[in-house]
């Protein structure tokens, strides 16, 4: 970095500085933090920021993935290469195992995304984690816009939006009682575009499915879903090959893709800059159940 004549950071540098501050604050004040890591673009940016925050020391906490059993193989392999490179400890909380052990109940109607909640909370409790980093951004969803950087969860893992601690200056209050934990959102002030600018600037490795590729898909409720063993076609639905990419990644059964020819970060930025639909609105089936779907899931303990 050269000399800044006007002593003003670019907005991306300012966001980075704020996120690094949050990572260090949590590592200093909490006994057992963990980084929730899905392998998607936001959590990869999180891992990068954590890497920077503690360099040249290793990241001083493990990462945890909640494996829905329906994760994209490309995402899992990118996850593994990041974990290997950084030498962090990886904890996989499996929804399949949670079903097998009776921690959550698969009634065939509940989405895997929802079954993640019980699985996640159980794993947090099992390991005694007192702080769990999440890659949530306030620009994603209106309930998230209300969330604090340090989001208090009670002993049941619940969020109480009406009773949040005020957050002043950059003075975060990490006080929790026995059995409670804090969710930490270092990317709160980042937007989808910021994430992409950062991925471009830092040349960060992300799963290939974010870039345009040919894929077997079918249309359901106005979304393009990935065809394959995980998907049971309904009457009238047909599989066809299209040129697509993903804006978010999650459970394959619920995460839609968008038609796109963007093969580079630059082209993706151009595409998002003129996009008229949010990433979740375009591609996340789980937010469509009701107007407050995200808020309700968060109250139960979703991240």
């Amino acid at each position: 970095m050269s000399t800044h004549a006007d002593y003003r950071l670019s907005q991306l540098d300012e966001l980075e500085a704020e996120s690094i501050h949050i990572f260090r604050e949590v590592a200093a004040e909490f006994e057992k933090p963990v980084l929730m890591f899905s392998g998607g673009k936001d959590s990869i940016v999180m891992l990068r920021l954590a890497e920077k925050a503690f360099y040249p020391a290793k990241i001083p906490f493990p990462v945890m993935q909640v494996d829905t059993g329906f994760d994209f193989p490309e995402v899992l392999s990118t996850r593994d290469s990041w974990v290997d490179r950084l030498g962090v400890r990886m904890i996989v909380a499996s929804v399949d195992d949670a079903i097998k052990n009776g921690v959550v109940i698969d009634d065939g109607k509940t989405s895997r995304n929802r079954l993640q909640i019980g699985t996640l909370l159980n794993t947090i409790e099992e390991h005694g984690f007192t702080a769990a980093f999440g890659g949530g951004r306030r620009d994603e969803e209106k309930a998230r816009a209300k969330e604090r950087v340090y989001s208090h969860r009670d002993e049941f893992g619940q969020w109480d939006p009406k009773n949040q601690r005020p957050e002043l200056w950059s003075l975060y209050n990490g006080r929790i009682a026995e059995g409670e934990h804090m969710r930490i959102f270092p990317l709160s002030n980042w937007t989808e575009l910021d994430i992409w600018h950062y991925i471009g600037r830092e040349q960060i490795l992300i799963p290939g499915i974010y870039y345009s590729h040919q894929r077997e898909v079918f249309e359901r409720d106005g979304m393009l879903l990935s065809a394959g063993d995980h998907a049971t076609l309904r009457a009238g639905e047909t599989v066809e090959e299209r040129t697509v990419r993903f804006r978010t990644v999650g459970d394959m059964t619920l995460t839609g893709c968008v038609e796109s020819t963007a093969t580079t970060v630059g082209e993706i930025i151009e595409e998002i800059a003129v996009a008229r639909v949010t990433e979740r609105g375009a591609t996340r089936g789980d937010d469509r159940f009701s107007e407050a779907a995200m808020e309700d899931r968060k109250k139960e303990g979703y991240f």
């Binding site: 006007d6 907005q11 300012e14 500085a17 501050h21 306030r138 005020p166 949010t278 107007e291």
Partner: protein
């Protein structure tokens, strides 16, 4: 591109949500699916217009009651700047949220209704923004369309506010007549108010100069975390990680570490794999010193001739945020920069009436949403500056030891 954080304030019906909706809509930061959801809900509720407030009132209970109950953060960008809006509720019982939103703001935006003019609320908001040393203030005189875009109405409010503002510390005040609903002077200059010679609100937000607002003279580096890799490659590495709170640090600088009083020189300043020539606020960096000193979290690195005086006696303005009153004798936790310790309230000197600026010295306590001057004694010395000099080293929060709740915000005198 740089970043501007601003906090909005205004009474319940002054059109704050409409203005934010308008800024988001006109800067193309609202997406079709969000707008459709709001249109659908407005229709379901039987409104005959699209209620843009539904865009910002994200929680169930807010939509039920039709009010904003908590600070929400919104984002939009123009080609010149990215903006973070702290959208703070106007209700008097949520003063603490106003304080929360304003604590990080570069600019405060207060709305008044042109028909009613200044209210107790608008005065209170201006006082709070002034107390929190928000460097720039914009008074937006809204609903000009409902007073026939009358210059006289605007002039009267303008004059009244400027007179009131002389009692406050507002380094930069701008007053703009607008109509959030019709879009007058919001993004573009309005033809309906040709008598107004200033810029549109968005133009002002894009161009207001905030680079000089931070203290670049007094070097302050609160140590947040000590980095010791204990790996073969970095066997002897010892770095002090933190976010620069003031001044400019450079390799070779003589430094003083507080509270130990030990001195050394800056060996290097690092950010990940890069060595930096200098570091200034709000950069998060790792500082290495030439000597192996005992430095830990909570300590402060500064320059030998320019250092805060460590003190256990703190004199501050406190904004109190819970119903159980703050009284002398109460014990609390205090967090100041990276230092967390305990404190006892020695005295509540006065309660400030934020409407009249009257100082009530008989009060003896601060209730919910009240602000007053308080004397504290801490278990460890704090390395602090006056808040008006440095918003980072001059601020603290108070935490209830039993509940863990943040109960107060303090600004050191």
């Amino acid at each position: 591109m740089d970043l501007l954080r601003f906090a909005t304030a205004g009474s319940v019906d002054d059109g704050k949500s409409t203005l934010i909706g308008r800024l988001l809509l006109d800067s193309k930061s609202i997406f079709e699916d969000q707008l459709e959801a709001v249109e659908r809900t407005s229709e379901d509720k039987g409104f005959d217009y699209t209620d843009l407030a539904l865009l910002t009132d994200g929680l169930r209970s807010e939509r039920e009651q039709g009010i904003t109950i908590d600070v929400a953060y919104r984002y939009f960008a123009t080609p010149n700047r990215k903006f973070i809006i702290a959208d703070t509720p106007g209700h008097v019982q949520y003063t603490r949220n106003m304080v929360t939103g304003a604590s990080t703001a570069d600019l405060g935006l207060v709305l008044v209704d042109a028909r009613t003019g200044l209210t107790e609320q608008s005065r209170r908001h201006a006082v709070l923004l002034s107390l929190l040393k928000v460097p720039h203030l914009v008074l937006a005189v809204n609903k000009m369309d409902l007073v026939g875009y009358d210059e006289e109405v605007y002039n009267k409010i303008n004059e009244e506010f400027r007179t009131f503002a002389t009692k406050l510390t507002i380094p930069d005040l701008t007053i703009i007549p607008i109509s959030a609903l019709k879009g007058d002077n919001v993004v573009t200059r309005s033809e309906n108010m040709s008598w107004y010679e200033g810029t549109s609100l968005l133009h002002h937000l894009e161009n207001v100069h905030v680079a000089s607002d931070r203290d670049l003279i007094d070097a302050r580096f609160p140590v947040q975390y000590v980095i010791r890799p204990k790996s073969d490659d970095f066997h002897d590495f010892r770095g002090y990680a933190g976010q620069v709170a003031g001044g400019v640090l450079k390799p070779g600088d003589d430094v003083l570490v507080l509270p130990s009083g030990l001195t050394s020189k800056v060996a290097s300043i690092e950010l990940f794999e890069t060595s930096l020539q200098e570091a200034f606020p709000p950069m998060s960096v790792t500082v290495r010193l030439e000597d192996d000193l005992d430095v830990s979290r909570g300590d402060m690195i500064c320059r030998p001739q320019n250092a805060p005086t460590p003190s256990q006696d703190i004199d501050a303005m406190v904004s109190w945020m819970v119903p159980e009153p703050l009284r002398a004798g109460r014990k609390l936790s205090i967090k100041h920069t990276t230092r967390l310790c305990r404190t006892v309230v020695k005295d509540v000197q006065y309660r400030l009436d934020v409407n009249t600026l009257h100082r009530d010295q008989e009060a003896g306590e601060l209730g919910l949403n009240e602000i007053g001057r308080v004397k504290l004694r801490t278990t460890q010395p704090l390395l602090c500056d006056p808040y008006e000099k440095n918003r980072t080293t001059g601020s603290f929060i108070l935490i209830d030891e039993a509940t863990g709740v943040t109960v107060g915000a303090g600004m050191i005198n």
